[in-house]
């Protein structure tokens, strides 16, 4: 193991430890923001796990996330299940759905995948509402647990750490090596005998698993689950922006993107609620025209530039 990779792990562990102290030192307002941050760090890191090396833009996050929230809500109010089994179940359902989507679209060019995931959350929301209205009866879904924001924060931090560790392990495995070749040139990857479709499907499945798990964990925060809320397509775009803003080339890139974007978004949303959607648009344009490799990419560019001066 190279010294730099050990160093990276030590820094990550230190940061995770410091992050775990956050709920103990802040008031309720900043704890709420902390939960948002942790939720998006977990989602964006698991997004980068798949989209970073493959360059496929997935907009399916909201679909998996919504399934997590909806299944927890439905299980707890319709079938009186307890929280943890439902959270585990929804993560598995998210993984299965991701595998199916991957099998249908990832054999083909990346465009099909983007288009397919673009309307996916909306389509599932329509289906879920229809099933609810016609077969389950349109009762409300309530999630009552003993968890407070503090507990949700720690659970989400746990998920984020798990995603990071998984990514770290993958990048040092045969799978990670295969992924890097696919990201470099897919034709080359196929010619050296890599089963590109299978590798991509496996990675996308992990993304679906974690996004659904995050959706399940955040469900107790809302108490009342409504399809329109949990399947909001905006969440998918948030995750893409945060990941790319930070830099999808590094597993820790999203962490850099989440915090500034959420702070800017919260500020605009409270002061100019009608113009908040413009922030999304401008963020995308900034990424494409000024930060093609994210903030992390710019920092690394600066570092190599300053080294060349020396």
């Amino acid at each position: 193991m190279r010294a730099s990779t050990v160093q990276e792990l030590v820094i990550a562990a230190l940061l995770a430890f410091l992050a775990a102290l956050w709920p103990l030192v802040v008031d309720i307002y900043w704890l709420g923001i902390g939960v948002d941050v942790m939720m998006y760090v977990a989602l964006a890191t698991s997004w980068v796990l798949f989209s970073g090396p493959t360059h496929y833009i997935s907009l399916a996050t909201a679909a998996f996330f919504g399934i997590g929230g909806f299944l927890v809500g439905s299980g707890m109010s319709d079938y009186e299940a307890s929280f943890w089994p439902m959270a585990a179940l929804s993560a598995c359902v998210g993984a299965i759905l991701a595998a199916l989507i991957g099998l249908a679209t990832l054999r083909l060019s990346g465009v099909y995948f983007v288009i397919f995931t673009l309307g996916l959350a909306e389509m599932i929301r329509n289906l879920v509402s229809w099933i609810q209205n016609n077969f389950l009866g349109s009762r409300g879904l309530y999630v009552f647990t003993d968890f407070t924001d503090k507990h949700l924060y720690w659970m989400l931090l746990g998920v984020a750490v798990a995603v990071y560790l998984l990514g770290w392990i993958i990048s040092r495995s045969r799978l990670g090596f295969a992924l890097r070749i696919i990201g470099g040139d897919e034709t080359v990857a196929r010619h050296v005998g890599i089963d590109t479709a299978t590798v991509k499907v496996i990675l996308f499945t992990t993304t679906g698993f974690f996004a659904a798990l995050v959706g399940a964990i955040i469900a107790p925060r809302w108490s009342y689950i409504e399809p329109n809320q949990v399947f909001s397509p905006q969440l998918s775009f948030f995750v893409v922006i945060m990941a790319l803003l930070g830099g999808a080339g590094r597993l820790w890139g999203p962490v850099v993107g989440v915090i500034p974007f959420l702070l800017i978004w919260n500020w605009v949303d409270t002061n100019f609620p009608n113009q908040s959607i413009l922030v999304l648009g401008i963020a995308f344009l900034v990424i494409v025209y000024f930060l093609p490799h994210g903030v992390v990419g710019r920092l690394e560019q600066l570092r190599s530039w300053s080294r060349s001066l020396r």
Binding site: G110, I115, W130, V288
Partner: protein
């Protein structure tokens, strides 16, 4: 007869779908920009029709004549200022696709933001809503008029692409940018032109749709998705394929809306999409490896 009802309204709907898909085909097939702001351009056309009709009683059919030049120039500017730099810097078609997807996402959100600030509610108005009878099935006059105008524009476009010199140049670029450049076609200019024409057609489609479907500023993505599904189903660059695909989507959607639930039209479109991806990813009329 329910079957006749479904066939007639499905067919009438598919006319506008085909027109919008032709617009996207020009943008993706010729200019090679995967334009995910396509639906917002469509909604812009609807907003113009709604706004001019409710504020100064201008007929949506006249609005089309205003929408065409505005959206043509607007799309030309967008292509030249924002998208052409991406085309120039991209090293491969894959890189251009990722860049254009992200950039057009940005544009779509900015367009939504602008349109919400103009009209935050539904674009609801009544125009030519008198009932008419076709083969014993009742429908509204506006649907028939929209269908006829869409067909007329699509026909003109088809003749232009197939019978004129400039149309042949456009088709040549869609087959191969390199080869088209070698025979003396100004590829960047044709691409910009095709992108602008595609945008103008999409906006006209939006103005027509608004006469019989009530839209709002944030509905664009649904139409982007439908147009993309039609283009993929027909085969990228295939005009005849897009027309057949639009008819299939129009009829399937109407069937599901009438027999099952109007809320499931998007699910129906996805169902078709999955079938296409699994069994004919090159499209109904596309060639393999095209």
């Amino acid at each position: 007869m329910q079957i006749i009802d479904i066939l007639i309204s499905g067919l009438l709907l598919s006319g506008t779908y085909a027109l919008v898909a032709m617009g996207l085909n020009l943008q993706y097939g010729v200019a090679r920009i995967m334009n995910l702001a396509n639906g917002e351009v469509l909604v812009f056309g609807s907003l113009a029709a709604f706004w001019l009709y409710t504020s100064s009683q201008i007929s949506p059919l006249l609005t089309i004549l205003i929408v065409i030049p505005i959206s043509f120039v607007g799309n030309l500017l967008i292509y030249n200022l924002l998208l052409a730099p991406l085309v120039r810097r991209s090293k491969s078609r894959g890189a251009l696709e990722v860049d254009s997807i992200l950039a057009t996402f940005g544009m779509s959100f900015i367009l939504i933001g602008i349109m919400i600030s103009i009209e935050g509610g539904f674009f609801a108005y009544k125009y030519l809503s008198e009932p008419i009878q076709i083969l014993g099935s009742t429908t509204s006059l506006s649907r028939l008029v929209a269908f006829l105008i869409a067909t007329l524009i699509a026909l003109v476009l088809y003749l232009w692409l197939n019978k004129t010199r400039s149309g042949v140049a456009v088709r040549a670029v869609s087959v191969s940018t390199e080869a088209a450049g070698l025979v003396g076609i100004n590829v960047p200019r044709i691409s910009a032109f095709a992108f602008a024409i595609g945008g103008a057609i999409t906006a006209v489609g939006g103005a027509l749709i608004s006469t019989f479907i009530t839209l709002d500023a944030s509905i664009g993505v649904v139409f982007t998705l439908k147009a993309l599904i039609i283009v993929i189903m027909g085969g990228v660059g295939e005009i005849r394929g897009a027309i057949i695909a639009a008819i299939i989507l129009g009829i399937v959607e109407t069937t599901v809306a009438t027999l099952v639930d109007p809320g499931l039209t998007l699910a129906a479109a996805y169902f078709i999409f999955v079938l296409i991806l699994l069994f004919r990813p090159q499209g109904l009329f596309g060639r393999r490896n095209a």
